[in-house]
C-alpha cells in the first residue's frame, strides 16, 4: 500500500466517523424533540428539514439556478438575498462533532459556534456549507471577525461592519454596506435587484413575520399551548427553509394551536431563556429545562424571536427608502450585545417578562462568548430589583456537563416552585 493510498484510506475513515457521529447526534436530539409530549400538530415540516440537513446530510432544495447564500447573525437582511433571486441559509452551527474538528483549527478559547463553523468548513462534508455560493458575515464579535478571515480563504465572503452605536451616521454607513452587498449578490447570482424584486423579497419575509407574530401571540397563552423546545425547533428550521414555505408551515401550527389543546394542565414555572444562541442540534438547555418541569415561555436569543420579530418600517417607498428601512431594522431594535450601549436589551427583557409572566430567567453563556458574559451582571442586578431570579449557565456543545446542568436547572426550578402560590387541590385530602 503506498503512502498516498494509506492517507486516502485514513481520510475516508475519518470522514466516515465524522458523518456517523454528526448524524447520530442530530438524530438523537431530533428524537428527543419528537418524544417530548405536547407538540402541536403540523411540526413535521420543521422536523423534516432539520433531519434533511443534519441527519441525511442532504443538499438544500432550491429552484433551478437559485444560488444559496450563507448568512451569520440576524443582521443580514434576507429580503435583499431573495431580491437577488437567491435563497438565504443561516450557517451558525450548534454541532458538537464539527465543534471538535474546529477545535483543532481555531484557538482553544474561541466560542463553540465559531469552532463548529470552522469544523464544517474544514471537513468539507456538510452540503449546507459547500453549496453556498457566498457567505455574508456581519462582524459582531472578535471571533466572527477572525473567522471571516479564515473562511475568506476557502470561499467568497462579504463582511458587514456592525457599528458600535446606532446613530444616524452609522445607519448611513450600514446602508452603503448593504448596497455593496447587493452588488456582490448581483455578481454571484447574475440577477439584477430591482424595485419589484426587492418588494417581492419584503413580501416573502413579511409573510413569515406576520405568521410568526400570530404564533408569538398564541405562545403567550396560559395554559401553555406549545413547549419552548418545540418552538425553538421551529425557529431553527427557519434557517434552512425559504421564508414563504416556513410561513405556510407555521400557519398550520398556528391553526392547530388555535384549537386550544394545552401542553399540560399543571402550572409549570415559566422560564425566559436569554444569552448565547441555542442552535440545533445543541438543544440541551431548553430540553433540560422542560424535562425538569419548567417551560421555556419566551426567549431572547438571536436564533429565536430576535431574528424575525421586528418587521422593517418603510417610511419612504423609494428603492433607497426600502434599503434604509432594512438597515434601520437590522440595527436599531436589535438587542445584540455587540453594541456598546445595549440598554435596550434590558427593556426588551423586561417587556418579555411582563408579556409572558416570566418567573425566572436562565442566562445562557457559550464558553468564550464574552459579549454576553459582560452583560450578565447588569441584567442580574436589574432583574433582581423586579424580584426575578436569574442563573447563569455556562456551557459549550459537549454533553459531558449535562448532569451538572441538570442539577442546577432542577434546583432553579424548585426555587421558583417554592415561590409559587400552591395550586388548589382538585381532590380532598385523605387521612386527616
Amino acid at each position: 500500500m503506498t503512502a498516498q493510498t494509506r492517507a486516502n484510506s485514513l481520510k475516508e475513515r475519518q470522514d466516515k466517523r465524522f458523518i456517523n457521529k454528526e448524524t447520530q447526534t442530530a438524530a438523537k436530539y431530533l428524537r428527543r424533540l419528537e418524544e417530548l409530549p405536547g407538540a402541536p400538530s403540523g411540526m413535521e415540516p420543521f422536523y423534516d428539514i432539520l433531519e434533511h440537513i443534519y441527519v441525511d446530510m442532504s443538499h438544500i432544495e432550491a429552484a433551478q439556478n437559485q444560488k444559496l447564500i450563507g448568512t451569520y447573525c440576524v443582521m443580514t437582511p434576507p429580503e435583499i438575498i431573495y431580491a437577488a433571486g437567491a435563497v438565504p441559509v443561516k450557517l451558525c452551527s450548534g454541532n458538537y462533532t464539527a465543534f471538535s474538528i474546529g477545535d483543532s483549527v481555531t484557538p482553544r478559547d474561541a466560542c463553540p459556534l465559531v469552532k463548529a463553523v470552522a469544523g464544517f468548513k474544514q471537513t468539507g462534508l456538510m452540503p449546507l456549507y459547500e453549496d453556498c455560493s457566498m457567505m455574508v458575515i456581519p462582524i459582531t464579535c472578535d471571533c466572527k471577525k477572525k473567522i471571516a478571515g479564515m473562511l475568506s480563504e476557502k470561499c467568497d465572503v462579504v463582511t458587514l461592519h456592525i457599528p458600535a452605536t446606532r446613530d444616524d451616521d452609522n445607519i448611513d454607513i450600514f446602508v452603503n454596506q448593504l448596497y455593496y452587498l447587493m452588488e456582490k449578490l448581483e455578481d454571484v447570482t447574475g440577477n439584477r435587484i430591482t424595485y419589484e424584486s426587492l418588494s417581492e423579497g419584503f413580501r416573502k419575509v413579511g409573510y413569515a413575520q406576520y405568521k410568526l407574530s400570530e404564533f408569538i401571540r398564541l405562545k403567550r397563552e396560559t395554559p401553555y399551548l406549545i413547549r419552548g423546545s418545540h418552538y425553538m425547533a421551529i425557529m431553527n428550521a427557519s434557517s434552512y427553509m425559504p421564508a414563504d414555505k416556513w410561513g405556510d408551515a407555521l400557519h398550520k401550527v398556528n391553526e392547530s394551536l388555535k384549537e386550544g389543546k394545552t401542553v399540560t394542565s399543571k402550572k409549570l414555572p415559566r422560564i425566559l431563556l436569554t444569552g448565547s444562541p441555542i442552535v440545533f442540534p445543541n438543544m440541551k438547555i431548553p430540553l433540560l429545562i422542560e424535562e425538569m418541569g419548567g417551560i421555556v415561555a419566551a426567549d431572547e436569543t438571536c436564533m429565536g424571536e430576535r431574528g424575525m420579530w421586528d418587521p422593517p418600517v418603510i417610511t419612504d417607498n423609494s428603492f433607497d427608502g426600502m434599503i434604509r428601512a432594512l438597515a434601520n431594522r437590522s440595527l436599531r431594535p436589535c438587542p445584540c450585545p455587540t453594541f456598546a450601549d445595549n440598554s435596550q436589551r434590558l427593556y426588551r427583557l423586561k417587556q418579555l417578562i411582563k408579556d409572558n409572566n416570566i418567573q425566572g430567567v436562565i442566562y445562557h453563556v457559550l464558553r468564550g462568548c464574552l459579549v454576553y458574559d459582560f452583560e450578565y451582571k447588569k441584567i442580574e442586578e436589574e432583574l433582581g430589583k423586579l424580584g426575578i431570579p436569574v442563573i447563569r449557565l455556562e456551557s459549550d456543545y459537549n454533553e459531558e456537563d449535562i448532569e451538572q446542568l441538570r442539577i442546577r436547572i432542577e434546583a432553579f426550578i424548585e426555587l421558583i416552585k417554592l415561590k409559587q402560590v400552591p395550586e388548589k387541590r382538585k381532590t380532598e385530602r385523605k387521612g386527616f
Partner: protein
C-alpha cells in the same frame, strides 16, 4: 475591613511597579540618561487624587493617533493596561474570561484615590469586544466617552470610516476642552509626534545592537514610557540623549551578547508587567525585536508634503497614515503586521519567535496560524506562550522557555556542523 483591603490592593499595585523599576535600574545602572524614563514612569504610576492630577483627555489603548488630541490643546493621558495590581479594582465588574489588558485598564480607572477622572474625556477605540463593553461600563458610571469605530478592513472603503472617526475625535476633544484644533496647531502636533517617533525608531535601531549597554527589558520599557510622559518634547529630547549615551559608550566585551536572538510577538507587553521580557532575559535569550500593535507607530511620521493643506486635509492625511500602518488585531486580516514581521525576518538574525498571548486576547491567537506559516517558510521556530498578569506561572514558563532556548542552541550547532 474594606479600608484594609484597599490598602493591601494599593500595596500590591505599588510593589509591582516599584519592583520593575528597581530591577530595570539595577540592571542598567551605568546609563544615566535612563533615569528620566524611570522617573516618568514612577510619577505616572504614583498619580493620585491627592497630587491634584486631573487628566483632561484619557486615551484607552494606544490605537488612536494622539496628534489630534495634542492639536486640540491637551496632553493625552494614556491608560494601556499592564498592571496586575490594578486588575483587583475591576474584578467585580468584568467577566472571568476578560483579558488582563482590559481588566487592568478598567482597574486603573476604578482605582480608589487614583487620578481624578471626574472631568476627563475617555477616548475609546473599539478594537475588541472588551473595549465595547468597557465603554458601556464607563458610560454607566457617568463618564464622558468618545467611541472610535475601527473598520474591519484595511482598504479604500475603510479609509472613509477612519477619516470620519478622526473628525469625530477631533470635534469631541475640542468640545470637551473648549478649544479648537487649527491648521497651525495640527501641523505643530504632527511635527511633535513625528520627531518623537523618529527618535524612538533611532533608539530602537541603535540599542538593538548594544545589548552590552542596555538590557532588552529596558528597551521595551523606554518604548512604553512614551505613554506615561506628560511632555512629548521633553521625552523626545531625553530619548535622543539616551541614544547618544548608548552610542558613545565603549563596547563591553565582558558581556556575552551571543545568545540566541528571538522576536517577541503577539499580545503587547506593557509596564509594569515585564514578566515575559525578564524571563526571556533570564533564560539567556536575547529579544532583538519586540513587536506588537504599537511597533509600527514609529513609522507613522509625516513629511512636509503631508503637512500641507487645510485642517480637513491634514486630518485626512493622518487617517491615511493610520490606515497604512495600524497593526491592531482589530482587522480581519492583519496584513500590516504580517508584512512588518516578514520584513524583520529578512534581516536574517532572528533565530526564533516567542508568540506571547495574554489569556482572553483571542484575536492574537487567531493570528498565530498566519505567523506559523510565514515563519515556517523561513525555517524559524515559533513558540506560543500563553499567560496572564499573574506571577504564579513564572516557573512553568521558565521551564518551557529554557527548553525553547536549548532547542535554538542545538539548531545553531547543527547549522555549524552542516556548514563544516
Amino acid at each position: 475591613m474594606k479600608v484594609k483591603k484597599a490598602i493591601k490592593e494599593n500595596d500590591t499595585f505599588k510593589k509591582e511597579f516599584c519592583d520593575t523599576l528597581n530591577k530595570l535600574y539595577q540592571e542598567n545602572a551605568g546609563l544615566s540618561a535612563l533615569k528620566y524614563f524611570l522617573d516618568v514612569s514612577y510619577r505616572w504610576a504614583n498619580i493620585n487624587s491627592e497630587t491634584g492630577n486631573k487628566p483632561k483627555v484619557v486615551m484607552l489603548t494606544a490605537a488612536v493617533p494622539e496628534e489630534l488630541v495634542i492639536a486640540a490643546g491637551a496632553q493625552p493621558y494614556w491608560i494601556i493596561g499592564g498592571s496586575l495590581g490594578s486588575t483587583a479594582w475591576s474584578d467585580d465588574v468584568v467577566p472571568r474570561d476578560t483579558d488582563p489588558v482590559s481588566r487592568s485598564i478598567l482597574g486603573y480607572i476604578n482605582r480608589p484615590h487614583g487620578a481624578d477622572y471626574s472631568d476627563s474625556l475617555f477616548i475609546i477605540p473599539l478594537v475588541n469586544d472588551s473595549m465595547r463593553k468597557i465603554a458601556y461600563e464607563l458610560k454607566m458610571q457617568g463618564r464622558k466617552i468618545c467611541l472610535i469605530d475601527i473598520p474591519p478592513h484595511h482598504n479604500h472603503t475603510s479609509l472613509n470610516g477612519i477619516i470620519a472617526g478622526m473628525r469625530a475625535l477631533s470635534a469631541a476633544v475640542s468640545e470637551h476642552l473648549g478649544t479648537r484644533a487649527t491648521r497651525k496647531s495640527t501641523v505643530s502636533a504632527m511635527k511633535q509626534v513625528s520627531n518623537a517617533r523618529r527618535s524612538l525608531r533611532r533608539f530602537l535601531e541603535v540599542s538593538r545592537e548594544r545589548t552590552d549597554i542596555i538590557t532588552e527589558p529596558a528597551r521595551v520599557f523606554v518604548q512604553d514610557s512614551y505613554y506615561m510622559t506628560n511632555s512629548i518634547d521633553e521625552w523626545t529630547a531625553n530619548i535622543q540623549a539616551l541614544t547618544k549615551e548608548i552610542e558613545s559608550k565603549p563596547v563591553r566585551h565582558t558581556v556575552n551578547n551571543n545568545y540566541p536572538k528571538v522576536m517577541l510577538l503577539g499580545s503587547p507587553v506593557f509596564f509594569p508587567n515585564y514578566k515575559i521580557p525578564f524571563l526571556i532575559q533570564d533564560t539567556k535569550l536575547s529579544i532583538c525585536d519586540a513587536v506588537d500593535y504599537t511597533s509600527l507607530k514609529t513609522f507613522m511620521t509625516y513629511d512636509k508634503k503631508s503637512m500641507i493643506g487645510n485642517l480637513n486635509k491634514l486630518i485626512k492625511n493622518i487617517a491615511a497614515k493610520w490606515n497604512t500602518y495600524d497593526a491592531s488585531p482589530a482587522y480581519i486580516q492583519n496584513d500590516v503586521l504580517h508584512k512588518y514581521v516578514s520584513w524583520l525576518l529578512q534581516k536574517g538574525d532572528i533565530e526564533g519567535v516567542v508568540y506571547h498571548i495574554l489569556k482572553g486576547q483571542i484575536e492574537y491567537d487567531f493570528e498565530l496560524e498566519h505567523f506559523e506559516k510565514t515563519l515556517g517558510e523561513y525555517g524559524i521556530p515559533i513558540f506560543r506562550l500563553e499567560t496572564d498578569y499573574q506571577y504564579q506561572d513564572v516557573e512553568q514558563l521558565r521551564i518551557r522557555m529554557e527548553a525553547f532556548c536549548e532547542m535554538l542552541v542545538q539548531s545553531r550547532y547543527r547549522e555549524v556542523k552542516i556548514a563544516s
